[in-house]
């Protein structure tokens, strides 16, 4: 019996900036329904790694495979078309639109209707948009301007927009940055549930150790562009090297 094909596989990824190696031979994979956390000190190469997966950066070496297909170096919008949804560290939504229109725009793009000139956009895909907003618990705010939402709600809107593309993989860059502890747990609990229901593979970076150790199935630790540890919460927390370069004593971070 062979293992099922991973949703995402990174194979010996390399990236250099002006002769400085930012990512060196990083390999890992994420399976459907799995939550994988990528952690490490500031400047360890997490963002670089992430940006090679979503198409923002072209790797200098190695491959990114989505369901077996090589997607290395494809533009972000092609990567989305192949089934990769994203949320950003600093939320990015369309401020001149309502919450519902934000989701509708994503849906129109997904259905190839972005260049339609006929009926008004706000009259299209209303039912689908409502269902997605319900899924993330934002249905009540559908008519509000995205520009005035509370931060936690913006994150949930981003999640709904990412789901509009019916993704197989969700990439979340510091999903809980700037949120209160309870909101953090709620958002990641929601993600956890969606990953299970939809069979999504989720890869996220995070600095909140409560979240990392509480939510992730598996954890990767990056340092100076290399993987220095990989495993479940207990093994990563016990790893002497990880404690030395990243976790410290844990007194100020909740990593206890």
């Amino acid at each position: 019996m062979t293992a099922p094909m991973p949703v995402l596989a990174a194979e010996r990824l390399e990236k250099r900036f002006g002769g400085v190696a930012a990512v060196r031979g990083v390999s890992f994979s994420v399976a459907a329904g799995e939550m994988l956390a990528l952690i490490g000190p500031n400047g360890a190469g997490k963002s670089t790694c992430f940006n090679m997966l979503n198409g923002q950066l072209r790797p200098d070496g190695g491959r990114v495979r989505l369901l077996g297909r090589d997607i290395s170096g494809l533009a972000p919008r092609r990567v989305w078309r192949l089934g990769v949804g994203r949320t950003f560290q600093i939320t990015a939504t369309f401020a001149s639109m309502t919450v519902r229109e934000n989701v509708q725009t994503a849906l129109l793009s997904h259905h190839g209707e972005a260049f339609a000139f006929g009926r008004a956009a706000r009259l299209r895909r209303t039912e689908e948009a409502r269902a997605l907003l319900e899924q993330v618990g934002m249905a009540a705010q559908a008519g509000r301007a995205a520009g005035v939402l509370a931060y936690g709600d913006l994150k949930r809107l981003e999640l709904a927009m990412a789901l509009a593309g019916r993704p197989r993989l969700l990439l979340m860059d510091e999903p809980t940055a700037g949120m209160a502890p309870a909101e953090r747990t709620a958002l990641m609990g929601l993600t956890r549930r969606l990953a299970g229901e939809l069979g999504l593979a989720v890869l996220f970076t995070e600095h909140d150790m409560d979240i990392v150790f509480g939510v992730a199935d598996r954890i990767l630790v990056l340092h100076h562009g290399e993987l220095i540890a990989e495993g479940d919460a207990a093994s990563v927390r016990a790893d002497a090297r990880v404690r030395e370069v990243y976790l410290g004593s844990g007194a100020t971070s909740g990593g206890h």
Binding site: W80, F94, T105, L108, E113, F115, A145
Partner: protein, 609 residues
Amino acid sequence: MTFVLLQLLTGLAGASALFLVSAGLTVIFGVTRVVNFSHGSLYMLGAYVAWTVLGHLPRDPGGFLLGVLATALILAAVGAVLEVALLRRIYRAPELLQLLATFGVVLMVQDAAQWIWGAEDLPLPRPPWMRGFVVLGGERFPLYDLWLIAAGPVVLGALWLLLHRTRWGTLVRAATADREMVAALGVDQRKLFTGVFALGAGLAGLGGALALPDGTANLTLDLSVITDAFVIVVVGGLGSLPGAYLASVLIGVLQAIGIVFVPKATLVLVFVVMAATLVARPHGLLGRAGATAREAEAPPLVLPAPVVLRWAGLAALLVLAAAPFAVGPFALSVLTEAMIALLFAASLHFMMGPGGMPSFGHAAWFGLGAYAAALASTALGAAFPLALLLAPLAAGLVAALFGWFVVRLSGVYLAMLTLAFAQIVWAVAFQWSGITGGDNGILSVWPPAALTDPRRFYWLVLAVCAGGAMLLRHVLYAPFGVSLRAARDSALRAEAIGLPTAKLRLLAFAIAGAAAGLAGGLSVFSKGSVFPTAASLGRSVDALLMVLLGGVQTISGPLVGALVYTGLYDALLRATDWWRLVLGAAIVALVLAFPEGIAGAAQRAWRRS
């Protein structure tokens, strides 16, 4: 060989004056984030002031040097006054309103200069020492130009030292990155800004004074210099002084050599080089991404028009349709122009507001459409409907080609590049007299007999323009328009949900170009003629004024703007010879009073009530 060398040196001499202006422009932009349209006017004032000052000083090198430095100081003082009186009040206004306010200053300075120094070109009588020359390869080269060549690098070096080796310079560079943070660290921004503006104005004045012996002080210097300076700043990279110097040399030499080999296409040559540079390096030779970034205000929510407004629109349309029965022929011709202006403004609003692509050269498309229609009907003998159809086709097609690299840029870069392109179209119309008739234009282009009745022609214009504007408005609510707005709100997010932002913007650019071209085509048949002014900077500014007066972020804005502006402009032209002064002052006053535009302010008041 010698000849090329001499042209090269001439180009380098010209480059120095260009560099002084561009350096000032770029430093002012860096710190205050204001693109100072009136920078060319400061240069022009520099030339005039130098002409007066040097006339009162001994005609020896010492006197000249003293006069030039005095001119720089006087202009620095003028700059400081300008900053305190006007710019300080609009630092928080949107970029384009700032541009517009400084354009108001351009108009006022033009009339003021004419009032003080008269309309004649003023040459500086060259004293004997200035007529000296060196012999290079058997040819004479003016000694003064050699001094000019040295002036560029000397000023560049001095500026570099000022910015990198003094505390003031460190503060200026810090403020360029984040002026609010500088203030929070205890630095008085206002003094810093006034100082920077004075420095920039002084440099412009210095440039005008130094270039005076090689030319004259005249009233066209402002716009020609500001166009060159925009090109240089874009090519060199906004905010980069070495970049500005490199680009000045490049453009200066290109102009000097181009004028010999392709005398009629110098501007085109310059433009091609600029385009090539921007394709290879979108932020200019030495510029960096992020130089144009500023604290972006969240765009307001766009809602469908309230029912009241729809009824008001319908009522307005009915009144306009019935107008010919009530007004005389003159008022009817003004109304016809207003309708054409409406479509022109709506097309600019389309790309500028929801498209997020500000243009300072929208007249390019208006002019292209006008010339296409005029040429089709005179040279090709095309029937009226065909000629009118060709106008949007030609303009849209060229816009699609030009748009290919424009849509990769944003903000101020885009505004400056469109301005430069419009200047090219204008120059071609002006210089290519074999086809376009040059300054004499193309005459006797009239609509067919069935439409010679002004009332019928007016109804046609009303149908086409109101219909066109409504169509544009419809598109903005359709998925295409919403996707376009998505790309403007957050390009990052738009790409992440699969929207091809460049393609969306390109199509929007072409649609806006075609609509402006249609307006241009109609204007030809309305006036029976076309002149290069159809593609002039003034025309572009007309459109901008209409949109900005109306408010960029409201969809009904251009309508209000077009009507108010056409009326105001017409009344002014008839009322006074000093219309520039009055118009300029009116623009400045309007920007100060309504930083969001008239319709924007009305909308805000509406929502509040």
